[in-house]
Amino acid sequence: MKFTIDWLKNHLDTKFNNNQIIDKLTNIGLEVESFESSTSDSDTFIVAKIINAKTHPNADRLKLCDVDIGGDKTVEVVCGAPNAKNGLLTVYAPPGSIIPKNQMKLSVSKIRGITSYGMLCSESELLLSNESDGIIELKNNKYANKIGEKYFKNTSEKVIDLSITPNRPDCLGVRGIARDLSAAGAGKLKINKKSNLKYRGNQNINVTIKKEKAQGCTIFGSCLIKGVTNKESPKWLKDKILSLGQKPISAIVDITNYVMFDLNRPLHAYDADKIDNEIIVRSSSKGESFEALDNKKYILENDMCVISDRSGVLGLGGIIGGTRSGTEYSTKNILLESAYFLPRSIRKTSKQLNIDTDAKFRFERGIDPLSIEEGLIKASELIKQICGGEISNLDVKKIENYKKTIINFDPFLFEKTTGFNVENKELIKILEKLGFNVSKNKKILKLAIPSWRPDITQPIDIVEEIVRIKGYEHINTSEPVKTRLKPTLNYYQKLFHFLQRSVASKGYLETVTWSFTDSKINQLFQENDGEIPIVNPISSDLNVLRNSIFPNLLFYLKKNLDRGFKDISLFEIGPAFKGKNPGDQLTVIGAVRAGKVSRLSWNDKERIVDTFDVKKDVIQSLCEAGINKDDIIIDDTTPSYYHPGKSGGVYQNKNEKNAIAYFGEIHPNIIKKLDINTEALVIFEICLDYIKESTQKIKDSKSEYKFSDFQKSERDFAFIINKNFKSQELVNIIKSVENKLIKSVRVFDVFEGENIPEGKKSIAVNVTIQSEEKTLNENDLDNINKLIISSVESKSGAKIRS
């Protein structure tokens, strides 16, 4: 909502200076977005000097000018004017300027092979005269020291731009703003002058509001003004319209606009001679159409509120008028409309047709239903004053009577809500200045709500009115109470926190990427989940919710590889979506590692990252977050985007069905499809939701501390075993031989090839044996060794290597 201080003072007697008014507006909830001179298209034109004009190498009639545009900048401009010469002071239009004559926007362009930055202007191009033979020649004595400054002086008054919240339609008019300011003590609201308008004759165009279920209009007021002379608006009116950032059109249109912004009372003027017999306010039928004042043709749906005559639709009530009945300079007789349209109807229609106008914006928020006559009178007066003519009696048709809203307000609610007290007397004064009618019934205030405040419907709204006018600075600051109702984080939130920092501490950079992604990449990671398209995506490559974190992670990995990074570790923790309903999502960590370990190391051999690097990262992170390593089971079934032979799943223990993590190489097909160029790429993922919370807190779950000081022994074994036999099982077989005595089993060598039969491998393990009761003698140890060998051989089909 834009207006000038002068305009405000038409409605407000105030001693406040501009800055005080600005502050006050913000303090009462009318946020000032800006307070500055209105910018206009003419601001871009700059006084400039041609330093050097030479002939264009490719065109004799064109010149190539070096132009000083102020500061230390010069630009090169191609110019066709014969009078362009060294030292000439003229007017320069930079790229982006709009040339008044043809309304063309300048861009940087090549003219006969030479790039021209902007242009030098003739008087005719700036609409200063018809002189078009050459560029403007400015007088040296006046402009020599103004190079770089704006050529057109901006004399317009400073404009306040308010950001009005959707609950305050009344402040979409200057008078409403003045009323709020007066309630806040910034002055006195001026009383509207009584009109001494003389009416002659009746409004003889019959108006009917049809009683229909979907009727969007409840009041239609109008008057006829006969014998007007439409013309250009006088300067004061033009200035007002310009200050709103709008273009003056003609006196009649400008007046209706002016009244709308002044009183928040939208009006519409019809050329009465173009109306076919009568006005019928009705609901549209599907397929009806009309051409609107924005020069677009609209085809209507059912139940849109239209103003029509016998020939059809004239306009959409409260939204936009039609060209068929529009006023022109030649218009002699006008019908002025001042109506009330239902916000719901306006919103629905404008959404369906995608129209946004100042009138629609206002009716949608709720116009004062009692301002019908006031609007007609104010506009008629101005029309009579500027365009002449005779005004008929006002004709107001209604199908519904306005009912005043009454609220019983207990002033205690104010203190209860805001924490501070305002004396009843002051409270009543504030409400009365805002237009409330206050009567008292013991402690309760009976409030009649002003007709221009559709937002006020219940007592809490009254609290807001009082506190905002009184000022939020009166609210006390109560120190926060530290009482805690429950622990800050639950198990999964803690897990999130631990795992996030644990993974980062393994050298991974955390990133945050969109929750949506490109369906083409997502497909590669979708598995059995359905695609979840966004109906209105921001762009076609962010068109689905991600089923996995990897599509984005790999997309950005590639970008970083393209930037020249080779060794990259990245991860993200966040949602992966499994379906389109609320809650169909899992919290997942996705991590990628690319490149080499010990690249260009002076002492270590460099090698590519591999599955066991990420296996370490994932297992260590899980352990740090509280998962018991001894219970973890590794499996080799993984989602299809993993390399089928070089990836694994991690299970919290042998009873769980869902893998809590996967790790391994990514499938080579995917690397190829995404065109990722790296020496090696391994990934892991952890699904937090599948991790089961321990039933005990750590303080209860610590087992008794036991240790043994008896001598421990280590024995090495090498087995020849089927190539596909899992080392994890071998270790488990050995452990289960003597659970109490076998303290650890370490695989220290795996070997295939030379001396090993086809389809077999050699696994060497180191077994630590220790008793908690005695020192084991050779005999004991031999027995255990034999047991280990026989168990492994019988359960796995392995053979001990001799």
């Binding site: 913000t26 303090n27 909830g29 946020e31 919240t165 959707p166 719901r344 209860k416 809500t417 805001t418 924490g419 809490i460 609290v463 807001e464 506190v467 006390n476 600051t477 109560s478 120190e479 926060p480 109470v481 530290k482 009482t483 109702l485 800050t488 984080l489 639950n490 939130q493 926190h497 920092r501 993974v503 501490s505 050298g507 991974y508 950079l509 955390e510 990133t511 945050v512 969109w514 929750s515 949506f516 398209p533 966004i534 109906v535 995506p537 921001i538 962010l542 919710l545 950005y556 970083n560 930037r563 990245l570 389109k580 609320p582 809650g583 169909d584 999502q585 370990v597 002076w602 270590d604």
Partner: protein, 355 residues
Amino acid sequence: MSDIKKIKDDYIDKLNTENNVDKVNNIKSELFGKNGIISNEFKKLGSISVEERKKLASDLNNIKDELQNKISIKIQEIETKEINLKLEKEKIDVTLPERDIQIGKIHPVSQVIDEISSIFSEIGFSVEEGPDVENEYNNFTALNTPDNHPARDMHDTFYLDNNKELLLRTHTSPVQVRTMLKGKPPFKIIAPGRTYRSDSDQTHAPMFHQVEGLHIDKNINMGHLKGCLNYFIKEFFEVDKIKMRFRPSHFPFTEPSAEVDIGYEIKNGKIVIGEGDKWLEILGCGMVHPNVLKNVKVNPSKYQGYAFGIGIDRLGMLKYGINDLRAFFETDYRWLSHFGFDPLDVPSNYRGLSR
């Protein structure tokens, strides 16, 4: 006597010039072995008179001690020399680089969320969460924003179906609804998370982060709201004093509503929070609207309280001098390394919010 003194002097001289441990050991056995020179002298003691014996025994013992002492000092001397020589040869260039260090980082958004959670934890708030996909009711209707309300235009919403039933939440406020529907008052929660609006330019990203706050009890009023936010802002920006302004505004789900500005100034091209005469809007808040309470089955005549919503990314930008919102989500390795936080920098009360 002169004999043994001469032996002593000879061997002391010998030992003084000797540099080899083996040779010193040879001398040792030459002197003290079974048939060593000194051993033999001791053997002679038995054949001489008692008086002479006493004197000679004493002299011999002194010479023995002196020589043995000399030998052990010599051996130690030589060994020390040899070790030093060996160590000298083993010297390496310790300025050569260590094995690769991989430094991981926590994203600024995560760090700021942890800072926020830590601060609110101190005043008794717990953390709640809600899904990113919401239904229309939780995101709008329950929050007193009916379909025909112009306030819906303030949110550019991503939809997942043509009926506009399912959407990506446009704010974290639906967590209020979920929390109150599933529990009983009092409520004292914050809810950080991802939020979405179909809006993308230099200062807007289609996804961003908010933290919702909700405190409902029997007598929570706007003074508590002011106190809570005042505390939070001061703690968050780690300043003793903060210039803060509550300004009336409008949100459908709170009444009265406010926007909060903090004072700032630009010093040497950098933004300084807390002082100065410029205002920066950082959050929206208000008393939870009775209609919202009714929608979530909380009796507004018994319970009341406040709610607020803060843009997390924006807070992080202000605190850590990050200019470009879009960069948060572009995964540039250089940016993440530059603005990321050490994983061990866990914001907490006793270790401090930030280093």
